[in-house]
Symmetry: C2
Subunit: 410 residues, 2 copies
């Protein structure tokens, strides 16, 4: 394998791949792994010779990842999530070819597992025995789970105002969980510094090898669609890291000659916390922090996204776009997605809300093939179900038949 480097996404400065500080010393923009070419391995499998079942992403796509060594024992067989054609949603949205990339069936029920698994390899290869992250949601759960599996001391830094019901699903994996009082945006930058000083590898959202993990979403979509690239890929966007990875994945398959064009990427934010959209609309080069974020689902409400500037650059370079939807549109889309049998968290349902909006205003054509990334499970945030009004019926065993017949006659 050709030797690869990290490149600064801002100034293109090169850094060696054994660097752990994820940002440029000069311009402080996030680093990324140089474009890597590889081939799909249909043979490799981490526990048996049966290649069609049980591959993990670093089995099948290993050569696209410049890792000196891969420890498959750390895998929970993340990725290879279903790509589901829609039935009712196609009619409701008047869109012939809509597919749902269901990331809710990953090992910790969100897309984060891909990046955690890949990034953990980098940490291990550099000799780290401790990892951490700054997160209060899906990333914290994912890092705690993989840290446990790897038997590494795992530091989860959360905001001190985080409620117990959000912390418990992290704590079951037994990490060192620290509630930190103070500005949450600042906490991210502090973690980078402290990580360097104390020997903890922080697998935060913008770390290059976490972004690499998200490439596999694109690889799978290409394969699952028989290399017939969709016109649109729609991504719920918070920190920007997942969108960066998905863009890079399509680029690598394109440069490898596996696909003959790129999809148009649509990033979606919630109106109440849309720093990337704001910068996009104002044609700014840099993200301005949102002062008072108000969004229904914390998982898509990063007020100062670490990958924001770089995502803006990539979207401009490759004809992408950013849009917003309201809290109510996100909730409505939760119900729409459930009609296809998928219960997504509101943060994940925004991709459907965006498609509905862009279909209505004609940007997406009825004939366009679209893939909506469904980033995380609705069970992650079941409290939100109180915002919906559902009906139910009541009867006794004796009156049950009568009740059912009366419903059937309606």
């Amino acid at each position: 394998m050709e030797k690869k480097n990290f490149l600064c996404t801002g100034c293109q400065k090169k850094y060696p791949l054994d660097r752990t500080f994820p940002r440029c010393d000069d311009c402080f923009e996030p680093l990324e792994v140089e474009i890597t070419q590889g081939e799909i391995s249909k043979k490799r499998n981490y526990i048996s010779n049966n290649y069609t079942l049980n591959q993990n992403i670093l089995d099948r796509y290993a050569s696209f990842y410049p890792l000196s060594r891969i420890n498959h024992k750390l895998s929970l067989r993340e990725g290879f999530t279903p790509l589901i054609p829609t039935n009712q949603l196609s009619s409701i949205l008047d869109l012939d070819n809509l597919y749902l990339k269901n990331e809710t069936v990953n090992p910790t029920w969100s897309f984060k597992d891909r990046g955690t698994f890949v990034c953990l390899q980098h940490a291990k290869n550099l000799g780290y025995t401790r990892i951490g992250t700054v997160s209060s949601g899906n990333m914290a759960v994912s890092v705690a789970a993989y840290g446990a599996r790897a038997n590494m001391q795992t530091f989860i830094l959360v905001s001190s105002d985080m409620p117990l019901e959000k912390i418990q699903p992290i704590l079951i994996y037994n990490p060192v969980l620290i509630k930190v009082k103070g500005d949450y945006g600042q906490l991210y930058y502090e973690s980078l510094k402290i990580g360097q000083e104390t020997g903890i590898y922080f697998l935060n959202s913008d770390v290059p090898f976490r972004v690499e993990g998200s490439k596999s979403i694109s690889f799978e979509i290409c394969e699952q669609l028989g290399y017939d690239v969709p016109e649109y890929v729609v991504i719920p966007t918070s920190s920007g890291g997942n969108s960066r990875g998905i863009i890079k994945g399509f680029l690598e398959f394109y440069q490898q000659g596996l696909i003959n064009r790129l999809p148009r990427i649509i990033c979606v934010q919630l109106e109440g916390c849309a720093p990337i959209y704001q910068a996009w609309k104002n044609k700014d080069e840099k993200i301005s922090p949102v002062q008072e974020p108000k969004a229904i689902d914390h998982a898509i409400a990063n007020p100062y996204p670490p990958s924001g500037n770089e995502l803006l650059r990539k979207l401009r370079m490759y004809d992408g776009m950013v849009t917003t939807v309201s809290d109510n549109e996100a909730l409505e889309s939760q119900v729409l997605l459930a009609k296809e049998g998928i219960f997504a968290q509101p943060a994940a349902a925004v991709s459907i809300a965006a498609i509905k909006k862009l279909r209505a205003n004609g940007i997406i054509d009825k004939k366009n093939k679209c893939v909506a990334i469904i980033t995380g499970s609705g069970l992650k945030y079941s409290g939100i179900l109180n915002k919906h009004s559902f009906g139910s019926e009541t009867c006794t065993l004796k009156t049950m038949k009568e009740k059912i017949v009366s419903i059937l006659e309606k």
Copy 2:
């Protein structure tokens, strides 16, 4: 394909496959589909030509299922769940080869989706436009999800004392949910009768084509282990339907010559509701209902399991066994499983508790290859997390480094 029948598991009476009443007219024991032989299809795929990704169980194992027609639009790509080798658990349990079959990453995060998908095909083929189930947990969620995807009117009958937080994750899929006052065991039998009278296909736990769905768990385990059959397969057991299907799956691969022996099946129940274990221990032929079930997780607490008698027969015929664990052992096993990165509901963690117990008393040998079925996600029942005592730390941004250093020095 050779024409198949239903056989009564009690008296062997034959019934045609277009029958919907799931039990024998004479002895009232559950019916099952005759043993079917088939072959694994590595080519078939419901959306693209890429056979290695995105197959569903009725793509790959189609010929093992005597269905006149398969509608792949109803699929959420259930099954093909990971088989995960253990790291720390192997040491903790002193067991060289332990694998976790992680059913928590199915479309509605439990094993139930396999049976719902297969059974729905049978309902569709017979012309049904309405389905239903009696369940308050994983099966209700699964049937509601697939009913929505199939755009069929879906009746979910639950006990009237079911709390709102358990009902909401069913209601998001918009079924007709009916809370029924009266004896819950009776409700199951009533549903069979009313289903016949009103044209609703009830996909309950013992329906033959639901049991057929569970066969795919065994098929996958065989393939994932390269046809090297494990000595033990350990299954959390409530209604008994899943265990019946898993036993049948191994039998069919055995009769097909794909494997050269059968694993020993271990069914696990909770001490507070163990009707199958009681009958097993007492050498009874029939299950006696548990009068006052007291179990920490409703998902494994069926006081009068519809498939109980048949499961007893099959376990006796094929050298299986039944064991119990306590609520506390289930909780402790939740923590053990989390060390491997899997957060399971207590009902699912009992398989680990059973292995620990049987390893300690020497029934399972250190060198035996064991597969634990992990039936459902911990997020299904997050209220249980209050039963665990977890620790966390607190600091401010300023004191964070000091706090981390003090933890590292411990």
